[in-house]
């Protein structure tokens, strides 16, 4: 299968890119495909309810995982074979940052976005006691969504102090309606700032204030990590862990564009803007000048929700850092870099391919994970062998 443009990711950035790209396709006949690993379009934040419909002319490959990307371009997928593309837009989004604390690997502890995703995939939470904790604008959105589904949100614990968040909000009046709306939907829910979980045991969350809360579920995530693996595999340059792009969303690899969280954590509006720009640029259309969600916004957002230094000390020596291979914090002490630790402790050798433990070791020890090789996701050996040669 061959397309002029393949968009990887059907979240807000990918859908905005598809919509923009199709405008050109009407004139030029360019073919556009979108690939996503979920059963439907929407990505994470629009799971189950995409706010931009997939254009009818776009070929959509759902439940499809990309495991390799080769120059030319060839997109190797687990269930749809090899897909050729003249241009690529990487709209691969972000995943949650987890930080270890005693009990974080217990069943019943989910990511904040993680629990929301499960709820949107049919998990009933009516009457369930939930604490939402960690960091980032996502927490309030998750708490509001859970409440809407009938959960008893006992509290929201944001590690960032109000003293950091309020000045950020003051600088961005455009975000006030969103923030106020969220706060309104959470009236009656306790919201704590400068508070985080220190332990989860026997269904009880212990908070940094000493308070103990019994819950059915703990929804805890400490921010977002960009999914840059596809870009890295293609050889795109990263700056500070994000995919480097110019004002046309072009990466350093000709023909490869990137939009949304992988270029900088900036939320929905940034993803929509960049997706629109990438879709237009990749199909030879004029692009809208001016970036309202520029580097300054990304930097200010990160500063507002910067992680408290005490969070890296929550993990005890026996606390798991690598969940796939059960490698504890104390086993990792003393190694100077990711690859050395990986070779000698197995940390990062599991099926998550370092996506969970890599960012943790970056926070705890300052390590950066190494080069990316295929497969991008675990894939049947038989499929891996059938690459077009």
């Amino acid at each position: 299968m061959k397309f002029d443009l393949v968009i990887i990711g059907a979240g807000p950035a990918g859908l905005a890119a598809a919509r923009a790209a199709i405008r050109a396709a009407h004139r030029t006949g360019q073919s556009v495909a979108v690939i996503d690993d979920n059963p439907a379009a929407g990505g994470q934040i629009w799971r189950g309810s995409p706010q931009i419909p997939l254009p009818a002319e776009v070929r959509f490959f759902s439940q499809t995982r990309v495991f390799d990307l080769r120059p030319g371009f060839v997109v190797e997928t687990d269930s749809q074979g090899s897909i050729e593309a003249s241009k690529l837009i990487l709209a691969t989004g972000a995943r949650e940052l987890f930080l270890p604390f005693p009990g974080w690997t217990s069943p019943g502890v989910f990511g904040a976005g993680g629990l929301q995703a499960l709820v949107k995939s049919g998990l009933p939470v009516k009457g369930k006691r939930v604490v939402v904790a960690g960091s980032g604008p996502l927490l309030l959105a998750v708490a509001a969504a859970l409440r809407k589904e009938g959960a008893r949100v006992v509290g929201v614990a944001e590690q960032a102090a109000l003293g950091r968040i309020l000045p950020f909000l003051r600088r961005y009046p455009a975000k006030w309606p969103q923030a106020l709306g969220l706060r309104a939907r959470l009236l009656g829910v306790r919201c704590w700032n400068g508070v985080w979980p220190v332990r989860f045991e026997g269904g009880v969350v212990s908070l940094s204030t000493g308070k103990k809360v019994s819950v059915d579920y703990l929804a805890c995530g400490f921010g977002l990590v960009p999914n840059t693996e596809a870009a890295q595999l293609l050889g795109c340059r990263l700056d500070d862990g994000f995919v480097a792009v110019n004002s046309r969303q072009e990466t350093t690899v000709p023909g490869v564009y990137c939009a949304g969280e992988p270029t900088g954590i900036g939320g929905l509006d940034k993803a929509l803007e960049e997706g629109e720009r990438a879709g237009a640029a990749a199909t030879g259309q004029p692009i809208v000048r001016g970036r309202t969600h520029s580097g300054a916004f990304v930097r200010d957002l990160a500063a507002a929700f910067q992680l408290d230094a005490r969070l890296i000390d929550l993990a005890e020596p026996g606390t798991m850092v690598c969940r796939c291979e059960d490698v504890t914090r104390e086993t990792l002490q003393g190694y100077r870099q990711w690859r050395e630790a990986k070779l000698l402790t197995r940390c990062g050798m599991g099926p998550c391919q370092g996506r969970i433990c890599g960012p943790i070791t970056n926070c705890l020890f300052g390590w950066t994970a190494g080069s990316v090789r295929p497969p991008l996701v675990p894939v049947a050996a038989g499929r891996m062998a059938k690459t077009d040669t």
Binding site: D37, F110, L118, S121, M320
Partner: protein, 78 residues
């Protein structure tokens, strides 16, 4: 509503429910055992953490959070 089997028990779920949501919804929070035998369940909900791996229709290491329930599906945990 569709019926699937989880560890020998028949459960009823709405169409469009993921296997992970179905298992959790039944109160089954423990889906697998870690490398050293600890009970684990879904974490990230988006197919990244690999903690929701279960055996579906005889195939091991399927991601429960990324797999929709299909009538007659046979799911085995732990």
């Amino acid at each position: 509503m569709i019926k699937i089997r989880c560890d020998g028990r028949e459960i009823s779920v709405r169409e469009g429910t993921s296997v992970a949501a179905a298992l959790l919804g039944e109160g089954n929070l423990e889906l697998r055992r870690s490398a050293t035998g600890a009970a684990r369940g879904p974490l990230c909900g988006m197919g990244v953490c690999m903690e929701c791996r279960v055996t579906i229709d005889g195939e091991a290491h399927r991601l429960a959070c990324q797999t929709l329930c299909v009538a007659g599906m046979d799911v085995k945990t732990l």
